[in-house]
Amino acid sequence: MTLDVVPPDEGLLPKILLVDDATVVRLYYRQILEAEGYRVEEAINGVEGVEKALQTAFDLCIVDVNMPLMDGYALLHVLRGDAATRAVPALMTTTESAAEDHHASLLAGANAYLVKPVPRAQLALYVAAMTGRSVT
């Protein structure tokens, strides 16, 4: 899957998959991202994340760690193991502040990580960078 670099005023808007079991987190990110012009879909755990990622070509997956049934690391493992989703950019969000957990995120296949709670500006910045939008 190739990453389309699409400026916001042209053609298709980037599609983001939010995978987090917390209602308020998904609402918050959705509000921020839709205001920035992204299209957003949600999943509540890793299994639903896999299902959605296999059905739709997302430009970015934002993946939380602690979720029932399938955690964020296991989700990344599945995504990286499937040809259809191997290259999808993944931003991991974690409540862990310890450095070794950040390394674990990258080792698991995340392209970047952020520590929760994620400030609005930081989320917008990372998402823009990871979906190839120019940042002004």
Binding site: T23, A43, I44, N45, G46, V47, E48, V50, E51, L54, Q55, L69, M70, A74, V78, A84
Partner: protein
């Protein structure tokens, strides 16, 4: 836009606020994976108010509280029933039958010899449209149907639907998705009652009564290649769903598949299965673990 219901005793009219609607939608999404689109507000409100009234709860708050209880007493089932279409007919969700022929069976039989057994289970089978559809679809569309010994089993908890299934007589509503050619090939006229399935197909399916939540009864089914379990689990409570899915896992061979209904997902039940995406459908496979 809000729906309003006037209870017969003339009490104040109930409405669903925006916050209540969102709270309800999130709850349903968490429990079932079903999302209501933005344009479904009136549709949802109407049914929700109907249940609030009929259940005697009297208010959204009390009704929501009752839904949240572990022993919700079938209320979630009643609610979901209002939101889903429950009719059964031949070739329903036939993209999964297509997936069976184009995707799942080729994988399952790779490395098997001619004459080997393939075991397929339709559970719940209701009045038989599903298992008979499987049989017909295989005969019509699978090039290798004669290469293997295909065993189709069908089960339901309800003996009256099983009797109907065994009789194999259906009305035109059940046959609505079948071409005239298929009807001609697989059915004979049964006068006013409709059409009866030809014996060759009727006799190719073995019907049994089974309670899916009963692990002991489920253990009778083993070494299965393919399970169709459509539109049953969504009505179960969490515990029964988990137990049933565990039984299905045990019943399947390594590499075997299970198909759920179009508004159902393993994401609300279990992580035992590997999600597989075929062009025709998303299905779930038992892989990698013990047999």
């Amino acid at each position: 836009m809000m729906a309003m219901v006037q209870p017969p005793d003339g009490k104040e009219q109930l409405t669903i606020t925006e916050a209540e609607y969102q709270k309800f939608c999130e709850f349903v999404y968490r429990r079932t994976g079903i999302s209501f689109g933005e344009n479904k507000r009136y549709y949802v409100d109407k049914r929700l108010l109907e249940r609030i009234h009929k259940s005697g709860a009297g208010s959204f708050e009390k009704y929501f509280d009752s839904l949240r209880r572990y022993d919700a007493g079938g209320e979630i089932e009643r609610l979901i029933n209002l939101f889903t279409v429950n009719e059964t007919y031949f070739y329903r969700e036939d993209h999964q039958l297509d997936c069976m022929v184009q995707g799942m069976l080729p994988e399952l039989v790779a490395g098997r010899r001619n004459g080997d057994r393939i075991r397929i289970w339709s559970m719940p089978c209701s009045t038989g449209e599903e298992p008979y559809s499987i049989a017909m679809y295989l005969l019509e569309n699978w090039a290798r149907v004669d290469d293997f010994d295909i065993e189709i089993m069908a089960s339901d908890i309800d003996t009256s639907v099983l009797r109907t299934a065994e009789a194999g007589v259906y009305d035109t509503r059940s046959l609505q998705r079948l071409s005239r050619e298929l009807i001609r090939r697989y059915f004979v006229s049964a006068g006013e009652q409709g059409f009866r399935l030809i014996d060759a197909v009727r006799q190719s399916v073995r019907f049994t009564q089974v309670n899916a939540s009963n692990a002991l009864e489920m253990r009778a089914f083993a070494h299965l290649d393919l399970i169709f379990c459509r539109n049953m689990l969504i009505y179960f409570d969490d515990r029964s769903r988990q137990q049933t899915v565990e039984s299905f896992y045990d019943s399947l061979c390594q590499g075997g598949f299970i198909c759920l209904g179009h508004s159902e997902s393993m994401s609300r039940i279990s992580s035992l299965f590997t999600v597989r995406k075929f062009p025709q459908a998303i299905v779930y496979q038992k892989c990698g673990g013990p047999r």
